[in-house]
Symmetry: C2
Subunit: 117 residues, 2 copies
Amino acid sequence: MHVDLELAPKQKRAAGERCCEPVVYPDVQRDHALRMAEVAKALGDPIRLQLVDVLRKHAGKVCVCELVPLFDISQPTLSHHLKKLRDAGIVASERRGLWAYYYVIPSALEGLSGWLS
Amino acid sequence: MHVDLELAPKQKRAAGERCCEPVVYPDVQRDHALRMAEVAKALGDPIRLQLVDVLRKHAGKVCVCELVPLFDISQPTLSHHLKKLRDAGIVASERRGLWAYYYVIPSALEGLSGWLS
DNA sequence: GTATTACATCGACAGACATAACTGTTATTG
DNA sequence: CAATAACAGTTATGTCTGTCGATGTAATAC
């Protein structure tokens, strides 16, 4: 897993010469990185991050109508952010009559969380 | 810190009526969320996430010339990604002659990491 | 000095993104 | 049934992003 890179090439290289030994990057990491970047990208907006924060704190299902007044954005915009979070597999929703209830999928954050710590 | 939201309004509301009690969102969380979203956004690209991964695994300073062959992108594009990571405060760099050495600022990831776990 | 290497910046472009207004769908109320 | 509320989807728009090629800057090698 550890990629062995030299700390410093000491001299300028000639025209076609390589800087250093070819480094093999583990492919297993690449798929993992794609997934983690997808999650991080979805969290890379203050409103979406706060949405996830609220949903996580409740550990239950929260009605969209209760999320709207928390933020200074229109309802369609909130719906857009929720869709982003759904597409990233971070949250899921459930319909009950007129209302939609959202909740966090706990395992969705495990990968990124583990890598960060 | 815990925001008390009702689980379900049982009936349709009248025209101007509120869905539920006004919910106060803690402002301290808002600043925190802004910063964490900034970090998450910077990690929200597979190449940048892998860059941080490589730099973290080395726990030392890595020459840019050794990063370039790891990815299938041009040198200016890599430079662009490194700048994004610098702007987000995740990495820093140091010049030594012709070469630039990058390293992760460990504390930069602590906030997001702590929130996620 | 001149040539060349390492890296950053600039300019340009296609694609993605955040937002809002409008519209559509579904379900509840009367 | 008709009216209306909750929410999602569509469309439009301006901004941001990722990418590359060309250029700029600084330091090394000759």
